[in-house]
Amino acid sequence: MTAKTVRTRIQACLFLAALPAVPIALRLFYLQTIRHENLSETASKEFNRTVSEVGPRGRIFDAAGSLLAESIVTWDCALLKKELRDPARDIETLSSVLNLPGKELQARYRKGRNFVPVKKTLDQATAEKVKALKLAGVRLDARQNRYYPSGNLARNILGLVGNGRGLTGVELLYDKVLSGNVSRREIIRDGSKDGKIIFQSKMDDGRTPLDLHLTIDKNIQFFAQEVIKKYAQKNRSDLAMALVQDPETGRILALATYPEDPVKIEPVEWVYEPGSTFKAVTLAAALEKGTAGVTDSFFCEKGAWALNSRVTLHDHEPEGTLSLSGVIERSSNIGAAKIGLKLGVENFYLYVKSFGFGTKTGLGFPGESSGILRPIGKYRAVDLAVGSYGHGLAATPIQVLNAYSAVANGGRLMETRLVDKITTVEGKPVFANELSVVRRVISAGTDGIVKEILKNAVERGTGKNAAVPGYAIAGKTGTSKKIDPGTGKYITDKNVASFCGFFPADRPRYAILVILDNPKVLHYGGETAAPAFQEIAKKIITLKGLKPEKSLLERKTVASGPVTD
């Protein structure tokens, strides 16, 4: 065999050996170039996933930076029936770890198709225990859940969250600020059974949620809640409220209601006839317009005054002639009506509006009411007379408190504030809610006289149960009859008892309104709401270390007298 033949044979062998590689190369070329896009897309679908993850909602803090609401990861546990290896044993193990009755879980297992929910909102420790079991077919889904470290504290203000969205209260009002961001990630998994993640990249981090800082003082809110619960239960009232405001800034320090209802914000939604607490508004207006003076006296008709043939005004206690201060101290309706009638409809209406009645406070809650104030054209003399002592008109508790704050701070109606600031998660301020004066309602001079008269009402009038020995408290009791919504007439045996006041009277720092709706044990504001005011005031005094204005010897002197208003 010649060398040439051998070479030819080798070449032929090489050719034959290389021949199968040709279609493979062609196939590869076809797949890698012509079908590249389709195939890489299919592969991406197989291994790559774009997942969306809802981040935590923003936090809510009180004025001092104490946490009121935060989102935290919790786990929902479920069973996938088809993947369980030993259902009976797995259910038993799981029920013991989750502290669930085994029979109940087995019944749920039998009823379910493939996906059987077991238990929701597991904490981290429990979820770790379940993971450690390494049971096939047991699923743990992480989700953001809202929790409130202080329990029921300010829940009526904070509201509710459902599926990551605010449903009521501040959570709803500031939902855009607090909403958790939806981040999207591209994930590449390997081909293993579990599909372990090899790589993930952030595609879109979304908008970062912000933190909300309320003006609420956690401790004052707690005191208000505790006290209002105690007095509501003691007097078996249908609804009770305690509101605390800083009169200088209009900042709300506490909004407590009992029974607590996170669906409603009663202090801005609920309306009532303010009754005698409204006499402070009539008094301020009359003094400011000069239609009444401190030296004036009013004959109170011995308890009954026929305004016309159909309307007779009554006082709780028959009174003779009372000074201007006496009318407020003794809470004479007839005296207040006479002050109002001297003031006139136009002036009365102007000041009622100026004090913020008939207008929303601007807190922004969807259900906020502006109260009920009939148009000036429909105001007759009788409406003016009864309106002077807070009947025939309706207000929200926040309106009444805001008006008293205006009296407390020297005559300026402040814009009510519930949100102090909005910050980033790192604490960088994004928005600061500066204090804002709506208008000056009365002069400082008039204000001083009103304060003095309200101080007298507590020291020797119907509000004596609100007095705190050693401290100057100014305030006014109120008791108004409830209206039957069906007939529009007053119900004789149902009333709203209230007390609104502020302290220290000379330089007020706290304005408090206490309301008890339909108290069934004691009925008057002086008997029910004034003691609740006193208890809240005492706790605030102790908490904030407010100095007494009177010496130790002067502290325990409180005048006696009727509290029937």
């Binding site: 929790y147 202080s150 090899i198 790589f199």
Partner: protein, 103 residues
Amino acid sequence: MTKTRALKYATLLSTGAVFFVFAWGNVQATRLGYNIEELRKEIKVLETGNKYLKKEIQLSMSPERLQAEAVKLGLVYPEPDTIVLLEEKATDKPAKGWLARLF
């Protein structure tokens, strides 16, 4: 060995080396990917754990809990007239001892 053959071997080796480095790089990237993912999971678990611990602190600091604990100890709220507030005088100088400096 001729120069041409040496060049052929060098080309073959360098091509092999390039493929090896490429393959090694890919293997390393995958391995690091797993490591990163493990660490990411670990961070998440630790962050959640941290949040849960903070939650415990907040819960124990809640006024309701504090009051319950205080009541258990027999403590009561003081009345305002049982408190005597002492005014700080301008002449009162802060203590300079080692204990005062420590706290």
